[in-house]
Amino acid sequence: MQVKAKQTVGGGKAAATTPGMSMYQVSLSYGASSPERRLILENITLDVREGEFLCIVGPSGSGKTTLLRMLSGLVKPTTGEVRFRGQVVSGPSRERAIIFQDYSKALLPWRTVAGNIALSLEAEGMRPADQQPIVAALLSKMGIVRAANQFPGQLSGGMQQRVQIARCLAQRPKILLMDEPFGALDAMTRQALQDEILILSGEQRMTVVFITHDLEEAIYLGDRVVVLGDTPARIIETIDVDLPRPRDQLTTREDPRFLAHRHRLFGLLRRH
């Protein structure tokens, strides 16, 4: 099973073009001594192609978040290596933006919405005068212009997540790492944000790695879906999503291929 997965993921096709990101035989365990040692991720080999929308699904607690944090550089693998455009990842970088699930904790509560977005620009040393038009553009792109001078605590969850996405876009990343970004939002807001993120990533041909436990969300958004099995997490399957773009909340979700993928993924995860 594992051999098969590796072939599908890191096959000859990906080797021809340099992948955006790759993980090679990555494992992660916590705890120093052997009795407490806990293996979280086992032998993950994975390529993220430049410009693709890759979704990773798995049961909760399966190590999806840890995998994403390794891609960002916030967590270092115990063995194996993570590469970004051929370079070994040694720590976090402005080029890889990570959007956290708990948006309320990831925003600076003492800064306004505009101030939170500007943080990314300040960090790269941009002059305040140059920041303003960029912040204004991102505010309107994410539909939060009217909230510009409000504080995160005054906003709804969906709005706060929009602010976080805007801040990540402000750092002009080469890849967007999203950790169950819409998991805590209500269904309507979630669908609206799914479509917005599809438009955003399509516009800029942005590489996205998107973690979710929602199978339908993964199929709806992704070019490919990687399925993680639990404890220790390993890749059990990778599927190519052959659904046409632009995708539509109604017609895409009613497409027989959509339902077939859903059927297959559901079966895979139930077994594990």
Partner: protein, 250 residues
């Protein structure tokens, strides 16, 4: 207003009976002056500027010492709060140094700096640095780790991280430490002046006592009382940290 009136009944009665009993010869203690004399001495001291000069000297030293303690305490506290390893190394030393009364260093400070502002400010700084340091360590430890990860992914350097993430996030708690330290600063400055430094309000107090000007001594005590009250009210409403940090919280 009503509460102030009710609250001032007791002091008014006290002062009145003090004045009456000393005028009628009921009280003849040398350590007691008359409220009317005290008031006169106080007005005279304010009018000739001697009290204000002494106040200026005391404040100058107290604030200087406090500023040194605040900068050192906040930076060291941030570093120790961020590094559990370093904190474990330094913590026993902190706990050993902290309980030493600051005034016990007066002889040593005198040898090092002689009389004057440096000696006094050093003692003040020593006394003030501990509450600031300890509060900052715990405040920084309590910062939401997500925010530090945001700083990581934005590749912020230490100064940026301190200014834009750590200090604003720890602001409320650090402010409490600074308030406590401000109170300590005034107490320690006056103490050092009383013990030996020939400047400021503490020295004026000693001078008045030694020249048996009990009225002046009481007037200055009263003045210290007013200063302490006003300072406390100011700190409660503004807080020193809000002045220092208001620019960071954009």
């Amino acid at each position: 207003m009503k509460r102030i009136l009710i609250g001032s009944i007791l002091p008014a009665l006290f002062i009145a009976s003090w004045e009456i009993s000393s005028r009628t010869g009921l009280l003849t203690l040398e350590s007691l002056s008359r409220p009317s004399d005290i008031l006169r001495a106080g007005i005279a001291g304010l009018a000739d500027g001697s009290i204000l000069v002494a106040t200026g000297q005391t404040f100058e030293t107290a604030l200087f010492g406090l500023a040194v303690a605040a900068v050192a305490g906040i930076i060291a506290g941030a570093v120790l709060g961020l590094s559990p390893v370093l904190e474990r190394v330094v913590d026993p030393t902190i706990e050993a140094l902290r309980p030493i009364p600051a005034v016990a260093f007066i002889p040593l400070a005198l040898m090092m700096f002689g009389f004057g502002i440096s000696m006094e400010a050093t003692i003040v700084a020593y006394a003030c640095v501990w509450p600031i340091l300890i509060v900052t360590i715990s405040a920084v430890k309590a910062i939401e780790p997500r925010l530090l990860e945001v700083a990581d992914t934005l590749e912020m350097n230490f100064v940026e991280r301190l200014r834009k993430i750590i200090l604003p996030a720890a602001f409320v708690r650090i402010n409490v430490g600074l308030r406590v330290a401000t109170g300590i600063a005034l107490v320690v400055a006056v103490t050092v002046e009383i013990v030996l430094n020939p400047r400021g309000l503490g020295y004026s107090l000693m001078l008045a006592q030694q020249s048996l000007r009990v009225d002046i001594m009481y007037a200055q005590l009263l003045w210290l009382c007013v200063i302490g009250y006003v300072l406390n009210a100011l700190l409660r409403n503004i807080g020193p940290a809000s002045i220092v940090l208001s620019r960071a919280g954009r």
